[in-house]
Subunit: 379 residues, 2 copies
């Protein structure tokens, strides 16, 4: 039997968060590409676009007008996928035809008044993460706090950003979204169940070595264990960047070619409101560094979907949610260049996710990218 | 409390096959689209392309040469994601960093020698499903039979087709793929578990009414129950097309806008080898009708991923796989027109799938499309 070489042999890796497997075929990057090419987003947008429904002072699609905002600004989505209205559920459903009404409120967050900036660019002079990204995190905190108070039916707050036309984003103005829901949706619900089960199992010896002295009764969060494990592994093969409070890494079980997972590195932070002000600043810094390095990888505005997972809101918390750990996922689709993406189709849809390079190869390439944005350097 | 109206109110629907939920926001089709547009595939390809590595007699990327084939032709993939080589697994893995070697063989099936034809076009004069689609199904059967004999390590045979550049297909020559594996991958494994659990639960009264007299000891396959239920529901709101042996429908829990599920309508067919010759012909006919109607919907070569789920191969069968039911999924991405697709991004990746029209609305639109291909009609 040949010895296993992860850069050569097809293998599956296990995702303990979603409890599912991904197929890794590292030799596949060698095949030529003759398929669809993306058109990378132009970099010559104006700082203000009179037709943009997100720019300060402009009219929106359904009648409202934006404030003349000067920092981060949020408003309720004009085309919300969920509404706060309560609806009576259908009764007597066949076991194969089951539905339930869904309630919620959806918000749009304009990151910055300037139309032609992205999180990545906000990291670099004349901008700074402290001044320009902290307000975005503060808006997440404000929404999370207000929603639970004003809409007691809300159980989960899903914060996310779709960036770039390749990710279905229809407006380049830097913005994210928040969808709040009267239920815990599939993905966080799977993750919360795994996190909970992890905490209930006894600590094993390997983890003790990495984590130091521990109270045997309470096993630390799975994601805190992972952060410490990755930071203490020789050569940190999957770490992209780390600071005092957070670490960004390519998870061992990454699906997207340059997927990144951003984790608290020191302690359990169950949701956005539990962060100290120095943790908020550290989060702003690491968000800036990750997005800047991704842009520098192929010298383009790197498309991605980014999303926050955290504890359900106070009203829905049971004792069982106490094991939650705040974290941020980045799912960027590009594979080979600014114009060639990975398609998760056919086999991936029908069978299971498949990737073409190892997590370690991806982490090394992102890590080696500069911390200064390529557009600044080019000037 | 307002009464529930599925065409107006956001709701979740339950997928009993994967045991997960999808969010349905039917009012959302009203919002304007300013995002990315696809370039629909050109219809003026030559019947033979000397540079195509799938055309008869041509050289392939890594040295082989195609037969001068005149019907369906298959060969082993030159850039296979899996290899038959056995590799020793790694030992002593941390619980958060687990992998296992993956073995398999991958095949490419050229549906037809003619470079510029698709399944949809093979449905219409001068072609016919009997003559031009039956050989494709026969190649699935040949591969399924041969693999289990020649590669005893194979446990699952995943048959699929990626069609169109929007689905990561890099060659318009009509072709599908088969990836065989030494494990049952995530999706079929979830489905097989649900099918098995269904058969073990007692028959309920509703099902008896629809299915007629039944032996109380053995509950019929979940998917056979569904087929009969959909065919006997007044007005068949989710049925797209049906024939003597099969039915194609938009599942109640569809994720993709015009998703289609193709099911045996009469009896349990666990895998491709269990079909009678008249069932093979009926399958060819319904595959032709579904793909032709989809092409006619937006008058374009409709992109999709199509895949077969069935019983694992003989070697891996336990008693528990006896509840499997052969079926075909179609996941087509287009939403509004030949150039505007649905993006399953942000919320869908981080939280759960979301769709913008109901399954019933989608089924009606596909059902009303002609059975004669628009390109033939236009001539
Ligand atoms: O093998 P192909 O057709 O070159 O590649 C296509 O199908 C594969 C299997 O679904 C995917 O992994 C690839 O991302 C996709 O581009
Ligand atoms: O709401 P937007 O940005 O218009 O739309 C985008 O994000 C949504 C949430 O991820 C998706 O459902 C849409 O398919 C996508 O185009």
């Amino acid at each position: 039997l040949v010895d296993f070489d992860p850069t050569e042999h097809p293998h599956r890796r296990y995702n303990p968060l979603t409890r599912s497997w991904v197929l890794c075929s590292p030799h596949r990057t060698k095949r030529p590409w003759q398929g669809q090419e993306e058109s990378p987003q132009g970099t010559s947008l104006p700082p203000y676009d009179p037709k943009c429904y997100l720019c300060p002072g402009n009219a929106r699609a359904t009648g409202g007008t934006n404030d003349n905002y000067t920092s981060t600004f949020f408003f309720e989505n004009d085309y919300a996928a969920l509404k706060p209205q309560a609806v009576a559920p259908e009764t007597n459903q066949h076991p194969l035809l089951q539905s339930q009404p869904a309630r919620g409120r959806c918000y749009v967050i304009c990151f910055n008044p300037q139309h032609n900036l992205t999180l990545a660019q906000l990291s670099t002079v004349p901008f700074s993460p402290e001044e320009h990204i902290v307000p975005i995190i503060e808006s997440w905190r404000t929404i999370y706090r207000q929603i639970s108070v004003e809409n007691p039916f809300v159980k989960y707050v899903q914060i996310f950003e779709n960036k770039g036309s390749a990710m279905g984003c229809s407006n380049p103005h830097p913005h994210g979204q928040v969808w709040s829901l009267d239920y815990i949706p599939e993905e966080p619900s799977k993750e919360l169940a795994s996190l909970k089960e992890w905490c209930r199992n006894p600590v094993n010896q390997d983890e003790k070595i990495n984590l130091g002295a521990l109270d045997d009764q309470k096993r630390p969060s799975m994601l805190l264990t992972l952060a410490k494990l990755e930071l203490t592994t020789e050569g940190q093969p999957r770490v992209v960047v780390a600071n005092e409070h957070f670490v960004a890494l390519v998870p061992y079980w990454a699906v997207w070619p340059f997927e990144v997972l951003l984790l608290p590195a020191k302690r359990q932070i169950r949701h956005v409101l539990e962060m100290t002000s120095s943790e908020v600043v550290a989060l702003a810094q690491i968000l800036a560094e990750v997005t800047c390095k991704l842009d520098n990888l192929f010298q383009c505005s790197f498309p991605y979907s980014m999303g926050v997972h955290q504890q359900p809101t106070e009203k829905s918390q049971g004792e069982e949610d106490d094991s939650a750990q705040f974290h941020v996922h980045f799912y960027p689709p590009l594979l080979r260049s600014a114009s060639v993406r990975k398609f998760l189709v056919g086999f991936e849809m029908m069978a299971e996710p498949q990737r073409d390079l190892t997590a370690e190869q991806a982490a090394k390439r992102i890590r080696e990218c500069a911390d200064r944005h390529y557009l600044t350097t080019m000037k």
